[in-house]
């Protein structure tokens, strides 16, 4: 069964958020989650973890989410991995403001309930709605 689980990489500088996302998502038995709190290490972690989807915080020290997203999209092995932004920036326009490359990608506005996160993951992983 483990092989059917989708692999989710969460990149967020807040350790409590990556930890709780892991706990909550893995509790559904649908996902395997890896958390990464250092944006500079995110690329290496992604190469190693080979995620099915990346949940990406936008405002982070070091490399911000927008920049990171464009690097993933340029990476030969990661370019097709769907990205969902998880952001404390309240409006879509603020996400758009962080470079055109970010625009068009789905995003979840913090604070978000886990049920919404799951619904969004399913949609972007082409899983359909289970519940």
């Amino acid at each position: 069964m483990e092989t059917e689980k989708k692999r989710i990489l969460v990149v967020d500088d807040e350790a409590s958020i990556t930890r709780l996302l892991k706990l909550n998502l893995e509790q559904t038995n649908e996902y395997v989650v890896r958390g990464e709190n250092d944006s500079k290490r995110a690329m290496a972690t992604a190469e190693e973890f080979q995620p099915d989807l990346i949940l990406l915080d936008v405002m982070m020290p070091g490399i911000d989410g927008g920049e990171l997203a464009s690097r993933f999209q340029e990476h030969p092995k990661l370019r097709k991995v769907p990205i969902v932004f998880l952001t404390a920036a309240a409006t879509k326009s603020e996400v758009y403001a962080r470079g055109g490359k970010v625009g068009g990608l789905p995003f979840l506005a913090k604070p978000v309930e886990i049920s919404e996160v799951v619904a969004c993951l399913r949609q972007n992983l082409g899983q359909g709605t289970k519940k």
């Binding site: 807040e14 409590s16 958020i17 709780l20 404390a88 309240a90 326009s93």
Partner: protein, 429 residues
Amino acid sequence: MSAEIAAKSKKQTDEQAALESEQRYKRLLASVTDYVYAVTVEDGRAVSTFHGPGCEAVTGYTSDEFERDQQLWYRMIREEDRPAVLEQANRILKGEEPPQLEHRIIHKNGSERWIRNTTVPRKDAQGRLVAYDGLVYDITERKQAEERLTRAHAELAANEEALKRTLEELKAANQELKQTQWQLIQAARLESVGALAAGVAHEVKNPLQTILMGLDYLVPNSPTENENVAMVLSDMRDAVTRANSIIRGLLQLSAQSDFEMKRDDLNALIRRALGLVKAQVIAAKVSVTRKLDSHLPPVKMDRGKIEQVFINLFINALQAMSAGGVLTVTTRAGQFGEDLKISESAFRQFNRGERVVVAEVQDTGIGIAAADLPKVFDPFFTTKPVGVGTGLGLSVVKKIVDFHGGSVDIQNAAEGGAIVTLVLKADSD
């Protein structure tokens, strides 16, 4: 014979005494008046007039001139004053003692003089009027002084009036200045609140995310036998929701750049906003009355933002009607200051005749305390119980409406409840 001589001598003495007495009387009169005239009366009619020697100084005419021309005294009187002088003469001829009269004469040299004319009757032993004396005082200087004084008074009164007007204008200007200053302070406060909000939003939302996901994890994993745990977790979730709505409100206050202005139908937007709060309307046992002007011109607006404005106003109205009531939404259009019944002072930025669209949201709730009215648009000002409102709803409304170049005012309705009036420019393009 000696008795006859004695009688004759006495008569002469008596006549002498009478003459002396009359001369003394005339000297006395001359000393206290400017001149005296005497009118001889026969059978109640004036038959001749004699003007004393002082008359020339006052009138310019000599006694002889008056003697020769018996109507001169009348022609000399200024035309408008003649009826009063005739009245005075008629009264004394009837045996009355009329009060003194002040009137104008035209001096021989053409100048106007004021005189005071006092008449004194002379009667014979049987009490019949045989003559009367007119005592004339030249009061021109006094009258001129009086006129100068009256003019000065009038000028003073006019100056005082002008001063009062200036003072009123100054007061109004000062009031306006205070109002503008207050608005500037409010705007500055709002700007700083907005800037602060944008800055802290990120910092606050991350901890909120942690708490929310912590709750998401704890709810299915907490012991079911202790029902307090579920209650505490539910309270915590409510707290997160509340904190988040405050942050959202603050961000709406600070959001300026993402307005997307399009020509739109305000009525359609109001219907949509009413649809969005339908569940709350039903829960609050409130009935909705729509009085939407079907000929409303379009308005250039950000649909989402103005929808937010109406949702905030509707939610406020519903919260003010805890025991149910009626929510009335009205729209109308017109020329500002001409065919619209709205307080012009509250919407001063519009020009008279400017085509505007007015929307009113009225409730039948508790209304707003007079002391609270000036504060309702202040960020964080709320009269609602803790947890019910963030105190940002009306601040957001004002901010959005201001951005649209419109204006919003809130008052208590005469029939009870509150009425919010929103004025937006009609799009004439």
